[in-house]
Symmetry: C2
Subunit: 228 residues, 2 copies
DNA sequence: ATGGTGCCGATTGTCGACAGTCGGCAACCT
DNA sequence: AGGTTGCCGACTGTCGACAATCGGCACCAT
């Protein structure tokens, strides 16, 4: 009975969860085009499973707004309008502002802890930028912001934010050009961390607000792309 | 072909949606005790339908956090901890603050429109208070706050808030004593509307914050009940 | 007595099949 | 030709049945 401690619990993921994860990634990646119709039977056939778990997975993705369902007509991949993008970033702003507010007012220790946690993401971001991998840059950028929400310690907000994050990532990957890929992305986030740790609530709120607004503007007005 | 225009589209609700609505109401009402286990087959039998739509409805309610699912063990009704209540009200605060901020900064016309919309709820609240119907008082209270979010015009925030609202209502109805039933509840909300219409952002934010904090405190510390 | 083992009922997870519904095309009537 | 009707294919919504899994009890060995 000596070396049994390295046995990992295996397969506690349900089939539907695995399917939804895979489909979610395909939607985010852009493998599935916007407006593309998905048939339950087709997916089930390709995966070698029944329609039941596929149906369950699709329903979850509909709830996450990555798919839209039409009665008796099946589901199709979302196609974002500028209004959707504004909504997503507006909702993100609501949650991030609150997270900043909570963290700042939670005292110096909490601020330092959150700052340290968020700093750990930056090296990965820098490396992705060096590699020039746009998808990974965006994903890690979102990971940073998700970390901010996580630091606020509200599981419900985190859950809602994670869904928004997937939507935002899908948006970004459809308009790849619009996302900055320079190293100043790292310093931008460094500044956010610093302001967060500093303890001045208004400064931190303004910084995060403008950070998100800039990102949203980049996505909704393609003319500002060349600034890259 | 004269009088056919008053034909309404009928029955576009799916079976699963009807089931989930019914169960959601039962959970909110308290008809279903916290921790109570629900069997798919049992529900399906009582409703005279198959397990498939029941399963779909249950999955939706799990996603809304009104039920908790355990692998191969079925679903059971949530039992809220004080931490849950704090989370719910904290998340509500995040969204309401943002809504207030958006409405106030949207200009006087938007402020007036939102204020008028919200004022329409108060007579119903006053009547529920006169009738002494605790459940309805709470429901209309939540309706007021949901209206605030709706006035901000973000469908994603509204959706998330609606889910939180159901959770909050379930909490309140489990601790009925803790909710105020006096007519000052109306004047409290009148004041909120006034501050919202007034256009001073900080005043409005503070008012809504303390309004929610008071409510959360009432629910988490039963000792403060007697203030009624 | 105690710890472990194997079985048992109950419930979920999954499957294949059927019925209902929708969009589109072709045939039909005027 | 224009418009309507009826049919056709494809898909979802729903159903009943089977297999896998879990918690608990009795049984057994020590």
């Amino acid at each position: 009975m000596a070396g049994l401690s390295n046995l990992k619990a295996l397969e506690l993921r349900s089939t539907a969860d695995s399917i939804s994860d895979e489909l979610r990634q395909m939607i985010i990646d852009g493998t599935l085009q916007p407006g593309e119709q998905l048939g339950e039977a087709k997916i089930a056939g390709q995966l070698g499973v029944s329609r039941a778990p596929v149906r369950e997975a699709l329903q979850l993705l509909v709830q996450e707004r990555l798919l839209v369902a039409a009665r008796n007509k099946g589901v199709s991949v979302v196609s974002f309008t500028p209004a959707d993008i504004r909504e997503i970033y507006d909702a993100r702003l609501a949650m991030e502002k609150h997270a900043v507010s909570q963290i700042v007012s939670a005292g110096p220790a909490a601020r330092a802890s959150a700052a340290e946690e968020l700093s750990g993401v930056l090296p990965k971001l820098a490396e992705a930028i060096r590699a020039g991998d746009r998808r990974r840059i965006s994903a890690i950028d979102l990971e940073f912001h998700t970390g901010l929400i996580a630091a606020a310690g509200n599981s419900r907000l985190l859950h809602a934010y994670t869904i928004l994050s997937a939507e935002a990532l899908a948006c970004i990957n459809r308009l790849e050009i619009a996302h900055p890929t320079g190293l100043d992305l790292v310093s931008d986030h460094e500044e956010l961390i610093e302001l967060l740790a500093n303890g001045d609530l208004d400064d931190a709120l303004n910084a995060f607000s403008s950070h998100l607004n800039v990102a949203a503007t980049r996505l909704t007005s393609p003319s500002a792309v060349e600034a890259n």
